[in-house]
Amino acid sequence: MFSRPAAAATNGSGRMNNDRLTGACRPIRSEKNCGPPAFQSRCRRFIRPFISSLLSCPFLIACSGVQSTLDPAGREAADVAALFLAMLAGAVVIWAGVAGLLFYAARQKRGHSEKGAGQLILWGGAIFPTVVLAALLSYTVWLMPNVRPWFQGEEGRMRIEVTGEQFWWRVRYLEEGGNVAFETANEVRLPIGERVVFSLKTPDVIHSFWIPVLGGKMDMIPGRENRLTLLAEKPGTYRGVCAEFCGASHALMAFTVHAVEKPAFETWMTARRASSGAQDAEGLALFLKHGCSACHAISGTEAQGRIGPDLTAFGERGSVAAGTLPNLEEHIARFIRDPDRIKPKVLMPHFSMLPEAETDRIAAYLKGLK
């Protein structure tokens, strides 16, 4: 039985009758066994789990990517992932034990003594859970200082102030003394291997700042300043989100996170300080003419509005409308024409009254800002 299909494969008949090649049923199986009656009993027993595990494969994509807690790029996130995996492993063992006991109880014909059952309930239902919970609690509490590291003061630490707005992120890089070096929006750049302290604020409603690949989330509460420290360890581009419902466009309030090497970060800081939006005079003139500067700022120009996101070096950003659309000219133009269609309840008014060519020109200007 085991030699037949192998012989068929080597005799050069060319027919795909080797089940190992066709992938049908079990690794080795003769045609006789795959006939209808046998199919009912044997094949199905092995195909079903195969198909169901195949169907569950798409869920595995959640195990990696720019926004997965299970694919950590920072120290705190690595601890969170370790905690999750430890809990998962324990839960699987306990689940298997309970499911096994259930099968045993369902199939066992011969009854057990009442005393034995009482012992099982005492040990399995009271003492075992108590011990397991104590162990889990100890492990979690022991892990807590790692997940939310304690830091004393901010001396010598890099500080970034992030303000949650409806529905975007104001990001300010602070100098040593606490003065604002420059402002940007919907994008956070971090040096890897260096602990960064985030000051989290909001002027409107409660938001929550969360970069899943780097660590846990922290709420931003009106009237308060919450602190969070993160340590990025793996360079890459990640995604952060708002993790507390904050209004109509809550789900469209994301930001890009770039974790880069320290020298590259320093270079970027220097370049960013020197950035100017005055190169494209025609685009800038249109931008100013239509009043964009009432809300938006672009460094090196007269545009100094503080209500909306700072647009300095906008062309470098990963997205339009806080992580909603890829950063393309057409998307910028669409957003200017009618922001509310892309982001419901956004504060920016529509500019559909502007001539199309001018909107496109402003979009091109913004896309060109470096």
């Binding site: 009271a126 108590t130 919970l133 104590a134 609690l137 100890s138 509490v141 022991w142 807590m144 200082p145 939310r148 304690w150 602190r227």
Partner: protein
């Protein structure tokens, strides 16, 4: 020995001894740490002192719960009869209450121990 151990009383109130101790322990632990961290007392009184105080409180609470469990065990006739004690007799009522108190004491013991676990690991007041 007999003088230390309270006389057996027949009242429903003894049922709540252990959960009450558990509740008080919980309040004392949380309030002490919260007040300590909010007030920032002088350096002579450190977080380790708070830890020691609360460990003593925990041990006292556990001792009271063990005492309550012992009294319940006695009320249950030291396990001479098996539950469920559902006869409409005075003795079964006593046994039932004793057994229930014993189980509640066990629950409270575990709960007080759990509430004290963070005492071992908490490093400091956090800003």
């Amino acid at each position: 020995m007999k003088s230390f151990i309270p006389k057996e009383v027949e009242t429903l109130w003894t049922l709540f001894t252990a959960p009450t101790v558990w509740a008080l322990h919980f309040v004392v632990c949380y309030a002490t740490v919260a007040v300590f961290c909010a007030k920032r007392l002088p350096a002579s009184f450190t977080f380790d002192d708070v830890r020691v105080v609360l460990v003593v409180v925990t041990l006292l609470a556990l001792a009271m719960i063990v005492l309550s469990a012992f009294l319940a065990w006695r009320q249950w006739g030291f396990g001479s009869g098996d539950p469920p004690h559902d006869e409409p007799t005075r003795e079964d009522r006593r046994y039932f209450q004793g057994f229930a108190t014993l189980l509640l004491s066990g629950l409270s013991f575990a709960a007080v121990a759990y509430a004290a676990i963070p005492l071992i690991f908490i490093a400091e007041c956090q800003p």
